[in-house]
């Protein structure tokens, strides 16, 4: 296990190195000094408390999505539906907050509106996740496909929602909901910044995941991913595993939907998910499915986005969208790590070989280039076929 871990960290380190090289090359290409760019990036995330706060605000949704994806990814259930689940969670949270506020005559206290938003968001996201889980269990519909496509459905539903039953009465350029009641908003954790109390929720979830990681249920999911029969023996049936892991990720994404509305935007916007769902998958894998790694990776992702703006103003020539390119390189690297996570043996050594300490690996795949040399011996074999065996 330890040597496998070392391999994984090596892989992660090389991904990070590749990112640095590509980023440096791009900055040079844009006609700027990479060191100046780096300085701008660092200043962009640390020069004022507000900027630090922005990094934290950006890291919260990514972190929650990534943390709650751990069980699914550990079990090999590859759900990419967080985007849609965030949207549905945001819609249900917003709708519920308005409805309850109305019930209290427009003066509902925070103590009511916060849990209502949290629970409604979680319920919306969870329900959105159970649909592909049901399809996967009942008809074996590939969960990658169904969750991906349901994201578009959710986006369409959000657009319709913002033009109809949740639309703001004001005249606005873009479709959006009315502003949430003051009492529903998450207060700032650090004064003078947008960093809200949702940060504490990330820590709570990270600790819960850390504890869960050592539980029997976590082991069962690991077994489920690669050893279906053994998993059955441990009680991890397909339906139980798919439903529970997808539900957890859906609940997390739904909560993120609520947090983005109540903590960041104060209203439901068309851009509520903003790619956070996909970043969450990347961050979960980059963080090695470990809580601490994920929190760090989420901060890194968020800082990259915030810092790129600083880089743009420092160099003047490097566009802030360099962050997207860097994320792209990261995602490719993460895909390699994902392949490794799914089946370490496939990357480190060929599957099925006898991988003993005293009997090292047989590489089974041969390059086809050596083919022609066998022609004479093939002839021998063909003759052997005709000659017949020893009686």
């Amino acid at each position: 296990m330890r040597s496998l871990d070392r391999q994984r960290w090596l892989l992660t380190a090389s991904v990070v190195a590749a990112v640095l090289v590509v980023a440096g090359a791009l900055i040079l290409f844009a006609g700027a000094d990479p060191l100046v760019g780096l300085q701008g990036l660092v200043e962009g995330v640390s020069s004022s408390p507000y900027r630090v706060g922005e990094v934290l605000v950006g890291a919260v949704p990514i972190g929650i999505v990534a943390l709650t994806l751990i069980p699914a990814l550990r079990a090999g259930v590859f759900s990419v539906g967080a985007e849609g689940q965030i949207i549905v969670g945001a819609i249900t949270a917003t709708g519920a907050v308005f409805a309850i506020d109305q019930l209290f005559g427009g003066a509902a206290p925070s103590v009511v509106l916060w849990p209502v938003g949290l629970l409604a968001g979680a319920a919306g996201g969870g329900a959105m996740a159970l649909l592909p889980a049901f399809l996967a269990v009942r008809w074996r519909v590939n969960e990658i496909l169904s969750t991906l496509l349901l994201n578009y459905l959710a986006a369409g539903f959000l657009g319709w929602t913002l033009r109809t039953w949740l639309a703001t009465p004001e005249e606005t350029a873009t479709p959006q909901s009315a502003k949430l009641p003051e009492a529903a908003a998450l207060p700032a954790l650090i004064p003078g910044t947008r960093a809200h109390w949702g940060i504490l929720l990330v820590i709570v979830i990270a600790v819960l995941v850390f504890l869960w990681n050592r539980s029997a249920a976590s082991t069962r999911l690991t077994v489920f991913a690669t050893r279906p029969k053994l998993a059955l023996r441990l009680g991890a049936t397909r339906s139980r595993t798919v439903y529970s892991t997808m539900l957890v990720s859906g609940l997390g994404a739904g909560v993120v939907g609520w947090i983005q509305v109540a903590g960041v935007n104060d209203r439901l916007l068309n851009s509520v998910s903003g790619g956070v769902g996909f970043s969450g998958i990347a961050v979960a894998l980059l963080g090695g499915l470990a809580p601490i790694g994920i929190v760090l990776a989420a901060l890194f992702f968020s800082a990259l986005a915030a810092g790129a703006v600083g880089m743009q103003s420092a160099t003047g020539t490097v566009p802030a969208s360099i962050a997207e390119v860097i994320k792209g390189v990261l995602l490719i690297g993460v895909a390699c790590i994902a392949a490794y996570q799914r089946n370490p043996a496939a990357v480190v050594r060929p599957v099925g070989t006898k991988d003993a300490a005293d009997e090292p690996v047989v590489l089974s795949a041969e390059p086809p280039g050596t083919a022609g040399d066998h022609e004479t011996t093939i002839g021998t074999l063909a003759e052997a076929e005709n000659e017949g065996g020893r009686p």
């Binding site: 029997a216 023996r233 099925g352 300490a357 005293d358 047989v362 003759e383 052997a384 020893r390």
Partner: protein, 508 residues
């Protein structure tokens, strides 16, 4: 056809080969001469260095010291493809076929370009198959074949690839008697044309049956090197292991009530023959052997008994419990499980300790987590080497993984009520196999109902009190061990009804 002088000269000679992995010396000063046109058996216990020596020959490992010559010229292959180019090819024990591709497609991947044509490749493979007198479906993905058929396919592809020296690492480990016979016939045919075959094996009867030359390794040293003729099995065994443990004594056990019963099972699977109305009863204290050629339905039957596959008709009951219990319910009721492919039951990335403790993570677990001293004791009791609890299971050799699996199912599980084992001693040397058999008998003596299935008849005969034979998904014979002569069982395995001449029946 006679052997040409060139072919006669194709001698592979290894002199004073040593190989160390870190501080571990796997081979010490071993010499070996592989003659063309002969089958050279390479035997030894688990970890004696057979595979390492074979890998040195095949260019997969480089020796730490020593020299090799091929046809008098220096032979020091840098890698496997160089060895292949020079005509030395090894078929690994574990499968290297691409599961998604058929055998024909697998062959097209590695075969010569001249034959990069589906039809001619298929024709060549089909011909190779018919010589070996086995039937393997050439056109379905190899993953859907049974293990025996995949192993066989692997050998067929390697044969078709062509090599003057063919190294087979335990090719017969998962083959039935008829298939082994067919394979050996094919090997002899190749030998007659000057091909050299190095056969790594555990089965001493195979040495007598097919080998011309013999090298015996013991703890990395060559203890016999020469002709195989005139050596009795017992003598070879003594060379290999020093001294054999006494055979398992047959102590009659008192049989109790029925513990495991199956009624009217009908089930289907893509990996095995359909079960067609199978009834089975195993009593407390009884060891039931299930014999049959590979792919006769034994695997599927064990899957149904273990709760992994739900039968279309019929029921399974364990210890008077509710019929149709789930796999986890059966585990918690005390069902031990050793599947044909040990990889199904072990998690390579987890440590030996976590693998042994795995059942404490089951839903509603009855097993509790064992402490480190217990784990160490378990590993030692089953002779798992190295007995390091924190080592990942992937770090063990195949034989030691098998011992680890046995340690969990037969040692760590609290009082099994029933044991399902398919080929529990596969890949083990005599001593380790004997130890596992002893454990199975101990479990029976403690009141468990034990089922041992295998396509290796010896494995079944070694422990079973009663033997049922499966053929084509049905139970075709049910005999007490005393009446189970090799002849009667062999006929039943071939699908021949008892006491009818084998005239017009087709062999499987």
């Amino acid at each position: 056809m006679t052997v040409s002088p060139q072919e006669m000269d194709r001698v592979v000679e290894a002199r004073s080969i040593s190989k160390s992995f870190g501080p571990v010396a796997a081979l010490r000063d071993v010499s070996m001469v592989v003659r063309p046109g002969a089958v050279h058996a390479l035997v030894g216990e688990n970890g004696a260095g057979k595979s390492t020596l074979a890998k040195v020959l095949a260019g997969i490992e480089r020796p730490s010291s020593g020299t090799m010559t091929l046809d008098g010229a220096v032979y020091a292959p840098r890698d496997r493809s160089e060895a292949k180019r020079r005509g030395i090819n090894m078929v690994p024990q574990q499968l290297s076929l691409v599961g998604e591709l058929s055998l024909v497609e697998n062959y097209l991947l590695v075969g010569p370009r001249r034959l990069a044509n589906r039809r001619s490749a298929r024709a060549l493979l089909a011909e190779t198959l018919s010589r070996a007198r086995v039937e393997v479906d050439l056109d379905v993905p190899t993953a859907s074949l049974t293990q025996a058929h995949r192993q066989l396919g692997e050998i067929v592809v390697a044969l078709a690839e062509g090599a003057h020296t063919l190294i087979l690492d335990e090719p017969t480990a998962s083959l039935g008697p008829l298939e082994v016979g067919g394979l050996f016939e094919h090997l002899r045919a190749l030998c007659d044309l000057g091909t050299a075959v190095v056969l790594i094996t555990h089965r001493l009867d195979e040495v007598r049956q097919v080998a011309d030359d013999l090298t015996v390794l013991s703890h990395g040293e060559g203890v016999h090197n020469g002709s195989a003729a005139g050596l009795a099995s017992g003598e070879i065994a003594r060379l290999m292991v020093g001294e054999l443990p006494p055979p398992v004594a047959r102590v009659p056990r008192a049989l109790g009530g029925v513990v495991l019963s199956a009624r009217g099972l009908v089930a289907g699977s893509t990996r095995d023959t359909r079960l067609d109305d199978v009834d089975l009863e195993v009593r407390s204290g009884e060891i039931l052997g299930i014999a049959g050629v590979a792919g006769s339905g034994q695997n599927l039957l064990l899957d149904v008994l273990g709760g992994f596959v739900e039968p279309e008709q019929g029921t399974v009951t364990l210890d008077g419990g509710a019929p149709g219990a789930s796999a986890v319910a059966l585990l918690n009721a005390g069902l031990a499980w050793i599947p044909e492919e040990r990889s199904e039951a072990l998690v390579p990335g987890l440590s030996l300790r976590d693998n042994l403790n795995l059942y404490s993570t089951a839903v509603g677990a009855v097993s509790t987590e064992r402490t480190l001293p217990h784990i160490t004791a378990d590993l030692q009791a089953f002779d798992v080497r190295p007995a390091r609890p924190e080592l990942a299971a992937a770090g063990l050799s195949g034989g030691n993984q098998q011992k680890l699996l046995a340690a969990r199912e037969l040692g760590a599980l609290p009082e099994p009520r029933a044991v399902l084992a398919y080929g529990p001693t596969q890949g083990l040397d005599q001593r380790a196999a004997q130890a596992i058999r002893g454990r199975l008998i101990d479990q029976a003596a403690a009141g468990a109902a034990v089922v041992v299935a295998s396509h290796d008849l010896e494995e079944v005969l070694a422990v079973a009190d009663r033997i049922v034979v499966m053929f084509g998904g049905r139970v075709v014979a049910d005999l007490p061990a005393a009446d189970a002569t090799t002849d009667r069982i062999g006929r039943a395995m071939a699908g021949l009804a008892d006491d009818t001449p084998p005239a017009d029946k087709d062999l499987p």
